[in-house]
Subunit: 413 residues, 2 copies
């Protein structure tokens, strides 16, 4: 008798379908398509030589430790280095407050694992990071969605949601926020809203999960304090990653949390994979120490700023005037909103014909809205290709607009 797998799967497997991201990464693998779809850093910036020397040093000086099982918490010198660096950004913490994870994605998984019963709600920005939705979907989360504007998450709406949760039959377990150059919109939360959000969390006893992969990649303006640095009560679980400031391929991220939450996270980490690989932690420590990250981040910022400028200028030139788009002060993404009746999933099929790809925005909306939105990545495409990609995409959009009747017009007939 063959196994009837469909009848064996757990209920949670329902929410774990093929990922949009994954299918998109397959499309972008075609060499003649200019992909604005990924969220990949520019490989030109990878500190390859530094890692080569670091692995050599680690394996020559302490190979036995690098190849042996290690602690679930992570490699202590790396945790210490992170704590010192974060303290400079106003996040007062010690090595004991840091858990090393396999990228921020594992951090999101662990947070869902320890906090979410089926049906529990997470407050999320609309739109929000697709990978976070996928992580929380595994634990059958529901969502309380908060609209955004140019100042980020509408914190007044968070207040409303928190006060109404019981009337709505929801149990909100935490607030998930990306305050800096958010994926997918590139927007940042204003300082006033940051303060207010931490205040709301404190008043309600509902923790915040602050996901901050892009915070250091600010091209202009003043650094704004993280939610974690505004938190004096251990309300905020902070997620960081080396993916955007060194390289994503090693899968190295970290969680900063207070002692009680940290213990639960650690009890989630151990059965998940015992610990994060030692050699890659030790080599990353060697690369990151002595201030290398600081100088490297300056290089990344100059490089990405140029690409952002090229993308925005090309959008200005080639997109129809009806398109709205963000002008992010940092990060990796521009977010565009087309006329209501344009479905960007359909548009993507045309765009691929035109040899350009983007991410349709609907997947970032837990309520499946945002059908007329798209995410555009500028970090991983050289300037001339960026110009050409946006030119092609502008052409695709104009063509689609000429062909299709706006929905509201046909409704009015």
């Amino acid at each position: 008798m063959p196994v009837a797998w469909q009848q064996l799967y757990a209920d949670r497997a329902q929410g774990m379908r093929a990922s949009d991201i994954r299918e998109i990464l397959k499309i972008t693998a075609q060499p003649d398509v200019i992909s604005l779809a990924g969220g990949l850093p520019a490989p030109e910036l990878f500190p390859i030589d530094e890692y080569r020397r670091a692995f050599e040093w680690v394996l020559e000086s302490d190979g036995a430790q690098a190849l042996q099982y290690g602690p679930s918490e992570g490699y202590r010198p790396l945790r210490k280095l992170l704590a010192e660096r974060l303290s400079r950004f106003g996040i007062g913490c010690s090595a004991d407050d840091i858990l090393v994870t396999n990228g921020s994605q594992q951090a999101l998984d662990l947070i869902g694992k320890i906090l979410l019963n089926p049906g529990d709600a997470v407050v999320v920005e609309k739109p929000t990071y697709l990978g976070a939705l996928q992580a929380f979907n595994q634990y059958q989360a529901t969502y309380a969605v908060v609209p955004m504007d140019e100042d980020g998450m509408r914190v007044d709406e968070v207040e409303r949601l928190l006060s109404q949760q019981h009337a709505r039959g929801q149990r909100i377990k935490f607030i998930y926020a990306l305050p800096n150059f958010q994926n997918p919109t590139g927007r940042s939360m204003s300082l006033a809203r940051r303060r207010r959000l931490v205040e709301l969390a404190s008043q309600s006893g509902i923790p915040i999960v602050e996901d901050d992969p892009y915070g250091e990649l600010r091209f202009e303006g003043q650094h704004l304090p993280t939610l974690k640095s505004l938190d004096t009560d251990g309300l905020v679980i902070y997620l960081g990653t080396f993916s955007k400031i060194l390289a994503p391929g090693f899968r190295l991220g970290w969680i900063v949390a207070g002692q009680e939450a940290m213990e639960a996270l650690l009890h989630g980490k151990q059965p998940s994979d015992l610990h994060t690989g030692m050699a890659q932690q030790m080599a990353t420590y060697e690369v990151a120490r002595d201030g290398f990250v600081d100088t490297h981040v300056e290089r990344i910022k100059a490089f990405y700023k140029e690409r952002r400028d090229v993308m925005l200028q090309a959008i200005e030139e080639h997109f129809p005037p009806e398109a709205h788009y963000t002008r992010p002060g940092g990060g990796l993404f521009v977010w565009a909103e087309l006329e209501r009746h344009i479905d960007t999933r359909e548009l993507l099929l045309d765009a691929i014909q035109d040899k350009v790809a983007f991410v349709p925005g609907q997947g970032f909306h837990p309520d499946r809205s945002g059908t007329n939105t798209m995410r555009l990545n500028f970090s991983n495409v050289p300037p001339d290709q960026l110009r050409e990609g946006i030119r092609r995409l502008g052409h695709t959009i104009q063509r689609r607009m000429a062909r299709s009747e706006p929905l509201d017009r046909s409704v009015s007939i």
Copy 2:
């Protein structure tokens, strides 16, 4: 208001407590304690030079790929190499049937994630691998326990459990088995039982998860076919790892599964951490190719065989005649059973006074039995220390026996 974390945790967090293994690893960190507690490979055998050259080659020849995001399935040349190698052991598979994981521990997590609803049952050997229980506990598994004898899992008992599951109100989702040099007992399943177990799985449509970290580490006798190689219906999900044949520090394992189960596992892997690190996969491919693993495994076997012999001889000499123990033909562990009334958790406290450590066996028993059992590791301790460790432990046991009254005697009073 501070966060009341205890009230926020998901129900599953109840089953995710501090791990015995983790606490034990802390004990063993004391340098003057001879630890027979870990499950660590001998660092003397680590192919450190090979990895040093491999990382150098990978970073010089293809650094950008090594540092960039990679596919969730794993690095294709490594998957291809694994498929070729496994085919030599009778497991006919291609690269498409293989998913690279962060060690077998992540494989166990993913299997629990896609298959287990709260209350679902897993058939397990008694005793069984503690890390598997911890992985499945996260998904609120229950257990249908099968006793073992010198021929491994009592497959007649499996038959009984499968036929009675509905009467017992259980829903069995899969059978978890370690047929080769099982952790913790060192026992192997006989060929007749392997055949019968696969037959039972086929008759009932219940899949088998075959965990095989030690299969290649056979010191004597004939290699026995894996359950996977006896399976023609895609009933068996097979787990392998580089941890015991190269090194555990990189966290590299793999799952072999048929197409349908593989798709579900992949949908579990992606939200868990996107993918396993690229550089470590690429370097491991470079180390493992061209037959290196085969010659290296021969070296490991000779090395561990000597240590096993030393341990068995020392046990013969220093343990009381009342103690029973296994004589494993491979792997990393000897399993000992003391007189009924000796609680090995209490004994461990005495043993640590005597500067020797082991793992009390109860944690390997999902029904919390096995209070008089212990796991002894011989792979990670040099021969003279092994002799001395067992001498000390024999002394601890004798002392405890002299001091304590057997329970059944006091009962008979």
